[in-house]
Amino acid sequence: MALIEHTAAAVDSVADKGETIGGWIQHHLINGPEWHILPGVNIHLPHFPPLHFLGMRIDLSITNHVVMLWIAGLSLILLFKLSFKKNQMIPRGIGSLLEMLVIFIRDEIGIVNMGEKEGRRFTPLLVTFFFFILLSNLMGLIPLFSTPTSNINVTGALALVTLASTQYFGIREQGLIGYYKNLVPHGVPILLWPLMFVIEIMGILAKHVALTIRLFANMVAGHIVLFAFLGLIIIFKSYYVSPVSVGFGIFVYFLELLVAFIQAYIFTVLSALFIGMSVNPEH
């Protein structure tokens, strides 16, 4: 009885502050100007006045997700820097694991999707994609950190890097006219060319929008489910729900761990595939 009263009191206090479960979940997912560096300690990040460029309002303020991106990037650089000693033919420890992944990305993602020469050339980009996205995905699973890849702008920026690479390297390999001519499949009647061209351009855009949405939605969905399970405790106003909630929460946590790896892998594979298709036209 005391437990139930306790829970009810907690829920009432939450309701008093004007919070709902939906708002609480959203609060954990959306970007904000604060960095929760320790429990209860929030750092207000610097705010810059927005720039106006081509009619867009660009707010370059440092936000929570920007800090998370920086942490992911720095830890990635440190991880590689510390685990690889120079002049060491045989890597040990984490170095050998990282090297295995690098070789896997080079051989099974790069060379398989882009061919021998291009695969080797684009390996640094693909490795950076994979590890940067992987670390960003995994950060949401650590308390006090949030997932920068659950922000559609971040995944969009990454997909735009892929899009820019396909266009830039495609044009560089085949020339401006040659590249756009090769977009239309061979054997299409001349009359259908304008239509096919538009369709192909839309196809390119759709592929990259799908790339954006896939990573973003996977990352957001996992967190929403996780928080929703925990929110059940508040909704039912009972401690007795907590074993079920926590059990499912742990299950979803491990599922997210899996999804983090899978999505990083998928993003890298699809980027390799798209760049490979534009660099080698007759694929």
């Binding site: 997912l29 370059l60 997700h65 990037g73 590689f80 490795v127 940067f132 922000n151 971040v154 920026a157």
Partner: protein
């Protein structure tokens, strides 16, 4: 959640390209070249090992042939020396037999000669004796006493070794 924030986009690009450039300068280029070098060296080692293996195989085959040749040679040599030895034995035996035959013949001849000469000398001696005895007998009157004396005298003229 779905609102577009160009600032966030710009920050993501800046971070991503910073990480891309630094990571490929600091880590990925050295790692990839190290991997390439290692693969190259493994490939070279394998190639070399295969070459050496082939070489060793060829050498082994050559040695086997050499050993077989040497064995045949040795067998031939043994056979040859055996026949030579056999022939030499036969020769030696034959020669020895001839030699011994010759020696035997010579000895027999010698013996024969000696016998002949001994018989001849004996015969002349006996003849002398008989002549001497006859002389004595004829010179003396032969009574019993005298006969005895004659024989005794004769016996006294005989060489000392015959006494008694």
């Amino acid at each position: 959640m779905l609102q577009l924030e160009p600032g966030m986009l710009v920050w993501a690009w800046i971070t991503f390209f910073f990480v891309l450039i630094v990571l490929s300068k600091v880590a990925l280029k050295p790692i990839l070249s190290a991997i390439e070098n290692r693969e190259q060296s493994i490939r070279n080692d394998l190639e070399q090992a295969r070459k050496q293996h082939d070489e060793a195989e060829a050498l082994l085959e050559k040695h086997r042939q050499m050993i077989a040749g040497a064995e045949a040679e040795a067998r031939k040599l043994i056979k040859e020396s055996q026949t030579i030895a056999e022939k030499a034995r036969q020769d030696i035996i034959e020669k020895a037999r001839q030699e011994s035959g010759k020696l035997l013949d010579r000895a027999r001849d010698e013996i024969e000669q000696q016998k002949e000469s001994a018989l001849a000398s004996l015969r002349s001696e006996v003849a002398d004796l008989a002549v001497g005895a006859a002389e004595k007998i004829i010179l003396h009157n032969l009574d019993k006493e005298k006969q005895k004396v004659v024989v005794d005298e004769y016996l006294k003229t005989m060489p000392g070794t015959l006494k008694n």
